[in-house]
């Protein structure tokens, strides 16, 4: 996308950004990564074709504002980032609609289930290996979560068995699934 301020940050600007996120540089780095990851997903969920670029544009703009003297208030720093990200998104909609792959405009062709009726053998093999690397309880949880003809009832039963609400179950499974995702990605890259 063509964003007027899509250029990189100077080291000074980047340091200033980190220092406003948290006094401890390591913690500031973690916060930076968390916000960036979330912005990427938000742009993705909004249907933007270049979510990572847009997250960087957002950070660049925030950093420039900080260099101009704006101060982040810790309680509202996320809101400030979101405000800037939303402006970036609006600009994308206005000036580069073809890069927006929302429902009607789709830059990428939609995925097709018919393309791949069976999981690729290699991917499945990686998944099996990665499942073995998970602690047994997490492995069983993930598999049970995906089991069953009547999946909704199956999950409700699972949540009841564990004595936790459905959304807590979803989050717990997702934490394990994220580990699997990273592991499978690494396995396929080898």
């Amino acid at each position: 996308m063509k964003q007027s301020d899509g250029g990189g940050l100077t080291p000074e600007q980047f340091e200033a950004l980190l220092s406003q996120l948290h006094p401890d540089r390591e913690r500031a780095g973690e916060i930076y990564e968390t916000i960036r990851r979330k912005l990427v997903r938000l742009f993705e969920w909004r249907g933007c074709a270049s979510p990572e670029d847009l997250a960087d544009v957002t950070f660049n703009r925030v950093a420039r504002r900080l260099a101009e003297g704006v101060e982040l208030q810790s309680a509202h720093s996320h809101g400030y980032f979101y405000g800037v990200a939303h402006l970036v998104y609006k600009e994308v909609l206005r000036s580069a609609a073809r890069e927006h792959r929302a429902l009607e405009s789709g830059e990428w062709p939609p995925a097709s289930l018919a393309d791949e009726d069976e999981p690729a053998d290699e991917r499945l093999e990686c998944l099996r290996r990665c499942l073995q690397e998970l602690p047994a309880d997490q492995r069983n949880l993930v598999l049970r979560y995906h089991q069953g003809e009547n999946n909704i009832r199956n999950r409700q039963t699972l949540a009841n068995d564990m004595g936790i609400p459905m959304n807590a179950l979803r989050i717990r499974v997702h934490r394990a699934r994220r580990k699997l995702e990273a592991c499978v990605h690494g396995c396929l890259s080898r």
Binding site: R41, A49, P119, L127, H146, N167, L180
Partner: protein, 295 residues
């Protein structure tokens, strides 16, 4: 962070692109600062992809999922993972029943390690008082012939306890120190196991140290441990207990003066706390304390 029960519907609409803009904006703002809500959103996204793969969605929803959530390279990767997980979960390979956690607090029907810790073998034994902390195991544990292996859902047999200190080939301590009884337990649960761990507390015992294995609960960062007497009195109420690594096993370590433990049945209730989540009740543990004359 406790979520409104309607959050999942809200997120589902958002992910499918059917949420009105005036509702989507505040939701996105929340997603940025609420880590738990963000995780839930990703979890629902994964559920939608998995449901799409299984053919459980209506045609319009299916089209929306494929176009909005599965058309980017990353989205295709996620769809592929969901497809693989669906396939693997339906595979005929047996899945070990998932260990269950407590359904509601006062129902003491599921007990953990006790199911497989035969009381005659037990994992409670004497040691001498010796400070330890952080990553270091207590010396009494270090002297075990095998690493501590609190029972998991796969039910490995517990290692045999080391012999009482008096039986070990070691010179006696120069200065008498209060004896410590170490009691190993684990929070993995087995439904229907009603047995109780026997804890023998001989005269002269100064401290009882409970080592509660919490392996496989990586998402729970800290714990709230409560020990109740046979009469229901709270003898120990410790919040923010962080697991230590003892012999490679995440373990909660709490101590209690032995003088507080008379003979009878005690309950240990534990809650686990994951960042940003409500405390989660874990299975209660039951201890039968025996005050013997000779240990």
């Amino acid at each position: 962070m406790r979520h409104d029960p309607t959050d999942d519907e809200l997120l589902r609409s958002y992910l499918l692109g059917t949420l009105p803009e005036e509702e989507a904006e505040p939701l996105e703002d929340r997603l940025l600062w609420d880590d738990e809500l963000f995780l839930l959103s990703e979890a629902i996204e994964a559920d939608l992809l998995a449901a799409c793969d299984r053919g459980e969605l209506a045609l319009e929803e299916r089209e929306r999922v494929l176009r909005r959530l599965a058309s980017s390279p990353q989205g295709r990767e996620r769809l592929a993972l969901a497809r693989s997980l669906n396939a693997e979960a339906q595979a005929p390979a047996p899945v070990v029943p998932f260990p269950r956690r407590l359904p509601s607090r006062p129902v003491f029907q599921w007990f953990a390690l006790a199911a497989v810790l035969v009381s005659a073998v037990g994992l409670c034994w004497y040691g001498l008082e010796h400070p330890h902390g952080g990553e270091a195991a207590p010396w009494i544990a270090q002297e075990r012939p095998a690493p501590a292996n609190p029972v998991t859902s796969d039910l490995p047999l517990p290692p045999p306890p080391p012999p009482p200190v008096a039986q070990q080939n070691r010179p006696p301590a120069e200065t008498p120190q209060p004896a410590k009884v170490i009691c190993q337990l684990a929070l993995m649960t087995l439904r229907g196991s009603e047995s109780t761990q026997r804890l023998n507390v001989p005269p002269g015992t100064g401290v009882v140290e409970f080592q509660i294995g919490v392996d496989g609960m990586d998402d729970l960062e800290s714990f709230h441990v409560v020990l109740r007497s046979p009469g229901g009195e709270t003898l120990l109420n410790k919040r923010g207990v962080k697991p230590r690594t003892l012999d490679g096993v995440r373990t909660l370590v709490v101590e209690l003066p032995a003088s507080r433990l008379s003979a009878g049945r005690y309950e240990i209730e534990t809650q686990g706390i994951a960042p940003g989540s409500e405390p989660e009740d874990l299975s209660p543990l039951s201890i039968e304390v025996v005050r013997s004359s000779n240990g």
